[in-house]
């Protein structure tokens, strides 16, 4: 494996990142809860390829019951000779351990995860060196998501070329999307990445349309960290082309008019929801989860939360909106790990696309305080898509 650095140490590790804590993302949970053997099989194959004799699943602390499921699956695999010493007579030994986190989003960041796995405080490390060179206990380590490792199985079984025929462009294979929010059928969907966003939201095969007959207002297409898009830019790109559920199309237009596939957490927001309150909720989350290591993220996330709380409760000033913009700009790109960016992007996108709604909160403090989001004041006309 060229990817690995040569450090002269013999041990190598595979670590599966099952810390899934991004708001709106719950696809790994589904995989581990219902088809844990897919993950175990993927891990055995990947560990063999890497030469890892000891692999870990680092799982989010709140998924307490899934630990039991995984451990039962590991025991079953062991009893049948697929794990442990001399697997199926090949001479290859492998142990898989499940380690529970203690409830920190930041421990999903790969280097914070490794620190936590080593029994230390989950602070992200300063890169380089990257984990592939110096990871767990200073040994070369690969950290991958649950879905990534589970995908090893069909890739090996069908062959890479065959697997890559699914999908379109660079978005090959299938993708799990966890859809939630104001839709009729929230849940985890496996899609091939050729369907349009409109089809995904409105067809009965997937989300089944908007709940309670409301209108689509906005959507966060890839987990809480990625920029929010208003309905018009979600369904069509700025160029007027149909937007598809794949990496390239969701990112079309950059951050100005596009977003990202991110973690596949698809959060749909209808016209009864308040974007300011929503942005506040996300800011509160990122503030709470910042590890507190580097100053822009530690201090900036708290400041943004407080300003957003003022705006939300009718105590905001017009200048606060520009101040928020300036704060997020000074956090983004200047931190140790991408959590700083993840905290800045949602605020930036909300102001970029919904500035009038922030201003409404300032000019109508009483309505804002009564939580009276008669959002009719916002962005008329909200594009009404044809129902699929």
């Amino acid at each position: 494996m060229e990817f690995f650095g040569k450090t002269g140490r013999s041990a190598r590790y595979l670590v599966v990142n099952a810390d899934e804590s991004e708001p709106g993302t719950f696809k790994d949970r589904y995989l581990m809860e219902f088809i844990p053997h897919l993950l175990i099989e993927g891990m055995i194959t990947a560990s063999y390829a890497l030469g890892s004799k000891c692999s870990y699943i680092y799982i989010r602390g709140e998924y307490a019951w899934i630990v039991d499921i995984l451990e039962q699956a590991i025991a079953e695999a062991k009893n049948n000779g697929w794990l442990g010493k001399n697997i199926l007579g090949t001479g290859y030994d492998l142990e898989i351990y499940v380690q529970r986190g203690a409830g920190a989003y930041i421990c999903g960041e790969e280097t914070a995860l490794l620190e936590s796995l080593e029994g230390k405080r989950g602070n992200p490390r300063i890169k380089p060196p990257f984990p592939a060179v110096r990871g767990l206990w200073d040994c070369p380590t690969v950290v991958n998501n649950v879905e990534t490792i589970a995908a090893v199985v069909p890739i090996i079984n069908e062959g890479g070329e065959e697997y890559a025929k699914i999908g379109v462009g660079k978005s090959t294979g299938t993708k799990l999307i966890s859809a939630c929010g104001n839709i009729k059928k929230p849940g985890v969907y496996e899609i091939d990445m050729t369907i349009s966003v409109e089809e995904f939201i409105y067809s009965d095969e997937y989300c089944g349309g908007m709940a309670n007959g409301r209108k689509l207002k906005a959507c966060i297409p890839g987990g809480s960290s990625v920029p929010i898009l208003p309905a018009n830019l979600l369904l069509k790109t700025a160029k007027g082309e149909t937007r598809y559920m794949n990496y390239e199309s969701l990112a079309d237009g950059g951050f100005a008019t596009g977003s990202m596939m991110g973690s596949g957490g698809f959060i749909v927001i209808d016209d009864s929801q308040c974007i300011v309150r929503h942005t506040y909720t996300l800011a509160r989350f990122y503030r709470h989860e910042s590890c507190g290591q580097c100053s822009p993220c530690r201090e900036g996330t708290g400041w943004m939360e407080k300003i957003l709380w003022n705006l939300e409760t009718g105590k905001g000033k017009m200048g606060d909106i520009d101040l928020l913009w300036d704060i997020q700009r000074k956090i983004e790109g200047n931190t140790i790990c991408p959590l700083g960016d993840a905290a800045a992007w949602p605020v930036a996108a909300a102001i970029r696309h919904f500035r009038d709604e922030f201003e409404w909160h300032v000019t109508n403090p009483d309505d804002a305080q009564r939580r009276n989001y008669g959002i009719g004041h916002y962005a008329n006309p909200i594009p009404v898509p044809v129902t699929a």
Binding site: E2, A104, I106, R121, I126, R287, H288, E289, S290, C291, G292, Q293, C294, S295, P296, R298, E299, G300, T301, G302, W303, K306, L323, K330, G333, N334, T335, I336
Partner: protein
């Protein structure tokens, strides 16, 4: 990959920082290369401490712009990098004070660091030798845009000699590295996350170790202070002299700075260099033990060598010490020979300033300002 490794690595790497080119040993960090140039070209460093392994990367004050990554790959880097944790490459071109992006980001970092910091230097024991004061003065904006309550903590005694006032801490983690690397068993570290993170001992345990006092010296702000000196005096009223003694502790270098008032020794610290770090002697950092620091408070305990050379360009240098060393003037070099022009000296034409404080031999007192009979 194998070919690349075999390629000859030049013995010295050429780097350009703010139009000044120097040669440094491979493996040198950008910050240390800039320190070799000196003066304003050196980025401020609030968390990095060259004598503490693993330190740096946290405060983000030392961010610089990479205009060209290396001679082999001269592309610029999209993000600003932490100069204290990034090694130089041969042919690297960097911008510090010549980059607007850097100055903007740095002003942001200063604002963030001061966000939850009490702005009450007049009642803080660190005032006069505080790196955050210097940083705010040199790189900050004149006002704050923060309108909320600052976080506060109760003062805490960690051991008989050290007081922790967490309210002032900027979470540089230096003291935790001291605890990790200098003392036998570490009992203090960081608890909690985000802006609630705090330095603390494990269940209020006292820190009991020969070298714990060095935490006070590495702390850039007034969060960790010497209880034997707290509020006894202002540093700029004291007279620093270099002194040494034969310390019984084999790990202690015995070379210190005594801070005197008259003949009284008010405080003992390690000797600091122009970056505010403890000096090295024979290649080893000059940490001192708690006995030298807290118990030897009599001039008879020490062999005095002479006045300390104060070389830090900070508030402390305003004390009119005899042995002031001014920082290197680097601007003409940065500006390619063009020098900033002095348009006028207000002292020459002012009618309201009756006293030219620049000419005073020592601190001003009310006497200085008494109207002279004309």
């Amino acid at each position: 990959m194998a070919d690349e490794v075999k390629k000859e690595v030049p013995a010295r790497f050429k780097v350009t920082i703010d139009n000044i080119t120097i040669e440094v040993a491979p493996g040198t960090t950008i910050l240390n290369a800039a320190r070799q140039i000196g003066g304003d070209v050196t980025p401020p460093a609030m968390c990095y401490y060259s004598k503490l392994q693993g330190s740096g990367g946290k405060c983000r004050t030392c961010l610089v712009e990479v205009e060209a990554g290396s001679a082999a790959d001269p592309r610029p880097m999209p993000k600003l990098v932490a100069s204290c944790r990034t090694a130089v490459m041969d042919g690297m071109v960097l911008k510090n004070i010549t980059s607007e992006r850097v100055l903007d980001a740095r002003a942001g970092v200063v604002e963030f660091l001061l966000l939850n910091h009490p702005l009450d230097c007049p009642i803080c024991d660190q005032a006069g030798e505080c790196h955050l004061q210097d940083l705010g003065y040199e790189h900050g904006k004149e006002g704050t845009r923060y309108e909320f309550k600052r976080r506060t903590f109760e003062k805490e005694d960690i051991g008989p000699y050290i007081q922790l006032h967490m309210t002032r801490c900027i979470l540089c983690y230096r003291c935790t590295y001291v605890a990790d690397q200098l003392t036998d068993n570490r009992v203090h570290g960081v608890l909690e996350r985000r802006d609630h993170a705090e330095i603390s001992t494990y269940i209020s345990k006292a820190i009991d170790s020969d070298f714990s006092g060095n935490m006070i010296d590495v702390c850039p702000v007034g969060a960790l202070t010497d209880k034997t000196f707290r509020f006894k005096n202002r540093v700029w009223f004291t007279k620093p002299v270099d002194a040494h003694r034969d310390c019984e502790n084999p790990k202690c270098c015995g070379k210190v700075t005594l801070w005197q008032r008259g003949d009284d020794v008010l405080r003992v610290t390690a000797r600091k260099d122009q970056w505010g770090e403890v000096q090295s002697f024979d290649g080893k950092p000059g940490w001192i033990c708690n006995t030298c620091r807290f118990d030897k408070k009599h001039s008879n305990d020490w062999v005095v060598e002479g006045p300390t050379k104060v070389s830090r360009h900070s508030v402390i240098s305003q004390g009119h010490y005899i042995d002031m060393q001014m920082p290197k003037e680097i601007m003409p070099e940065v500006m390619g020979g063009r020098a900033p022009k002095l348009l006028m000296d207000i002292q020459d034409i002012s009618e309201v300033n009756s006293v030219d404080i620049g000419l005073l031999p020592g601190p001003a007192t009310s006497k200085t300002f008494e109207k002279k009979e004309q």
